[in-house]
Every structure is written in C-alpha cells, then in structure tokens.
C-alpha cells in the first residue's frame, strides 16, 4: 500500500439515498447512511471508517460487515473495492473471557 492519497480530491457531494437507514454493521448498529457520510467527512480507508464509526469493532470483528462496508466506501469514492485494503486483523480470533485469557497453562516440556 502506501500510495499517495490526496484527501482533497473531489468526490462530489453527499447525496442522501433511500436505503441510508439500512443497518450494515449489526454488532454496532451502523447504517449505510452513516458510512456514506463518513466518507464525505474524509474517512477514505476502511481503517478510518472503522475507527470513526466502530464498524467491524463489535463481537464479530467485521466477519459479516467488512465486505459490505468495503463495497459502500468504494462506491462512494468511485473506486474498485479491491483498491481498499481491509482493516487489520487482531488477536483474539474469537472473543475470549478475561479470566480465560488470563489463565495461561504452565509450559509443558517436550514429551510430557
């Protein structure tokens, strides 16, 4: 990545759409309209969208919505979805209780 991205490029005005109320990120209850508006506020990468709106930051960590968000942002920017780099993947792959994460098994030695 690391390609020059001038955030002043004109992407046209925000035009309200009939399905702006539709939920896209179910975990965090974020609508299509909010995502589209965020693009016009300058959030041009999936990482920025996620940090600004919390899309994909909930329990499923974007398993369901990341692809949908990508499509919406790409369309708003007038680019192909594959030009948008997906946001980072983080540990844990599945939500884990603090007491479980805290409970590290003692090291087993080879052959035990």
């Amino acid at each position: 990545m690391n390609s020059v991205n001038d955030r002043s490029r004109d992407i046209g005005p925000f035009v309200p759409g009939p399905d702006d109320d539709m939920l896209i990120c179910r975990c965090e209850e974020i609508t299509k309209g909010e995502i589209r508006k965020a693009v016009h506020d300058g959030m041009w990468t999936l990482t920025e969208i996620r940090r600004y709106l919390r899309t994909g930051m909930g329990l499923c960590q974007g398993q369901t919505c990341s692809r949908l968000v990508k499509g919406i942002v790409a369309k708003e920017l007038g680019i192909s979805p594959s030009e948008l780099e997906p946001a980072a993947s983080r540990v844990p792959m599945r939500p884990i209780e603090m007491e479980v994460f805290a409970n590290e098994a003692p090291d087993e030695k080879e052959g035990e």
Binding site: V4, N5, R7, D41, E97
Partner: protein, 375 residues
C-alpha cells in the same frame, strides 16, 4: 496536487491534525503529510484515552491544565463529533505502602503546580468506584481528570481541518527536510517535494530520523505498548483509572466496552515485524492485572487487542516548540505515551506560536535542546 502552503505539517496524528485545525481556524494555509495510509495511525488511535493531569510531570502540567480548562469541555461541539469526553475524575490506585509513597509524591508535586489532587484511602476509593477490590488501599484522586475517545477525537480534528481547507495527503512518507538560504523550506518524500514557510514535525518516533536530515537530534527510544478492549458491558463507572505501578490503565467507554492498557514489563525489549504487533505474553498479563482490581470483569470478553509504539524520551516529557537554530522549523514529538489528553492544547498553542510567535502557556521547559549530560 497542492505542494506548497504556508505551513507544512509532517505527521497526520492527533498533534498534526489538531495543529492543522487551529491554524486553519486562523486562516492559515496548511498541508498535512501522513506517512502511512491512514490518518491518526500511530499512538493517536492506539492509546487508552486518558485526559489526565494527575500523574504528569510538572513541566507539561500547565499545558494539559490549559487544555482541560479551555478546550476539552467544548471539543465535541467544536469538532461536530462525539469525542466522548468525560470529566469524572482519575483514580490512580495503590495496593502497597510503596505505591502509597509513589502516589503521594506525585500528588504533592502536582498540588504545588496548582492541581487539585489528593490522596484518599481504600474506603474512599470504593465510595467513588464500588467495583474495586479490597486489594486497593489508597489512590490519588483528581476530580478534574477524565477520558475521551481518541479515535473520534483525532479523526474529528482531521475532519474539521479538512473542511476548513487543509490539504491532507496520506501515503506520503517524509524522508528529508531541506533548509534553503538559512530557512526551513522543503519537505521531501519519495514522490514529491513540498514547500512551506514553516514546517512542523509531529511524526512521533519517525520525527527523529526526519529531523536528522537538518542536523537536529531528539533522543527517543521506542517501546511497544499494548491495549485491549472488551465487548460492551452494562454501565459501571465513569472515572479514568491508573495504577501506581502503571501496570494497567483504562476506562469504560460510552459504548460500554472497557479499554485497558497495560504492560508485561518486557515492553522495551519486545520485537516487532515492522508493524506494531501484540506479543503473546502481554494481554494475558493485563487481564490478570485487571481481574485483581476488578473481580467483576473476569467474565467480560476481550474482542480485540492491539499494540502501538510509544516514543519515549529520557526525561518522560515531550519536545515541543520552535527550533531556534532553524527559522521556520517547529517540533512536537516524544509524548511518552500520554500525548492524547494534551493534544488539543498542543495543537492550539503551536498554531498560535507559528502564527504569532507567542504562546499562552510557557513551553520553555519542553524545549527540544534541553538534553544535557548528567555531570
């Protein structure tokens, strides 16, 4: 693409974004260059969200107190974004007599600088936050401290600055500055050369390498700090929390999740793979730490962990202000992991400094050239 402006800011973190915003408000023409693909990609989006005065070095205390008095209370309205600012106090917790000593010293020096912070005992602590375990025997209590959302605040500054006409260019990794005829002038990336009458370097750790190109050295080392966040929980408390040993810190967000940072003790020696990645040891350690303070959170689920580099200076406070020997050059770096709460004040004062040559808060103790040998 625009390559010339009155001020070129190197670094699109919260310092760069807030300075750009306050400059633009004063009618100054600004370009911000961000080396990564994302605005606010360093510590700005990786910190624990503290807006604290207590626990800080007295040299940076006036600046953060200024911000908390004058800027934070109205920041959400100003930036038209929910910064989730809460001013519900900070408890810095202690479990041992040694902790009590550390906290008492910090509190005494802060009071000397005019901050309302005092020591309280375990029962008073639990009166403020009933979820804390009996292991806590004391705390310093600063009622005017608080917390906010670093993500929306950073991106809020960006949004408003952009709206005011600031040019932001991401993916522009600055490699070199050039002095032309005795004044700072050029900012060079692999792709373009930008020009400005003034240049602010606010690029976190990378500031050191960038400033090397004009013969300025700001000594910094990096240390990998890690955070984690839980799923949303029922509302429990609004204070910002920290500990005497700095083994964990954090708060409950408006969203209900708990954001906690912490350490394993191995931070300065952890390796990375080119990007800040979590180590396998730290998050379990943070969890163990938290559960001792908050037994009720044992079953809260962690949904994400992350890491970020802290830019650490030898004396724990930032280098901030004018580089006297190179006219037009300004620096703001080495925030030592507590740059978020202070950022609005830094941005506003730097903007004033660049435009008028003066600041409301004395920055002289944070001068870049203060590092001296011990004898």
């Amino acid at each position: 693409m625009k390559t010339t402006a009155e001020v070129v800011i190197v670094g699109g973190g919260i310092i760069g974004c807030s300075t750009a915003y306050y400059l633009a408000k004063m009618g100054v023409d600004v370009i911000v260059l961000e080396g990564s693909d994302h605005i606010g990609n360093g510590g700005s989006s990786r910190n624990g969200g503290g807006v604290r005065q207590s626990g800080r070095d007295v040299r940076e205390l006036p600046l953060v107190m200024y911000g908390i008095r004058n800027l934070w209370p109205t920041l959400s309205e100003e930036l038209e974004v929910d910064c989730e600012y809460h001013q519900d106090g900070n408890l810095r917790l202690g479990k041992t007599e040694k902790h009590r000593d550390i906290l008492t010293k910090l509190a005494d020096s802060a009071r000397g600088a005019g901050l309302d912070v005092r020591m309280i005992d375990g029962d008073e602590v639990r009166a403020i936050n009933p979820y804390l375990s009996d292991e806590v025997i004391c705390a310093s209590w600063c009622p005017t401290d608080g917390h906010a959302n670093p993500l929306t605040t950073t991106l809020g500054f960006y949004k408003m600055a952009r709206r005011l006409g600031v040019t932001f260019i991401s993916g522009e990794c600055v490699k070199e500055l050039r002095v032309i005829k005795g004044k700072i002038r050029q900012v060079i990336t692999p792709n373009n050369t930008y020009e400005g009458e003034s240049v602010l370097v606010a690029a976190g750790l990378d500031s050191r390498e960038i400033l090397t190109s004009v013969g300025i050295d700001i000594p910094m080392t990096k240390s990998l700090l890690e955070c984690l966040v839980t799923e949303a929980q029922p509302h429990m408390f609004d204070q910002m929390l920290g500990t005497a040993e700095a083994d964990f810190y954090g708060h409950q967000t408006k969203h209900g999740s708990f954001v906690f940072g912490g350490s394993s003790g191995l931070e300065r020696y952890n390796k990375d793979n080119g990007t800040p990645v979590s180590s396998s040891k730290t998050a379990p350690c943070i969890c163990r730490g938290i559960i001792k303070y908050f037994p009720d959170l044992a079953k809260a689920k962690i949904v994400r962990t992350w890491a970020g580099w802290m830019d650490a200076s030898s004396d724990g406070v930032p280098s901030l202000g004018k580089v006297d020997e190179i006219p037009g050059l300004y620096v703001a770096c080495a925030f030592n992991g507590h740059g978020f709460g202070i950022a609005p004040a830094v941005g506003e004062q730097l903007a004033k400094l660049i435009v008028t040559g003066k600041t409301d808060v004395d920055l002289s103790e944070l001068h870049y050239d203060r590092y001296k040998a011990k004898i």
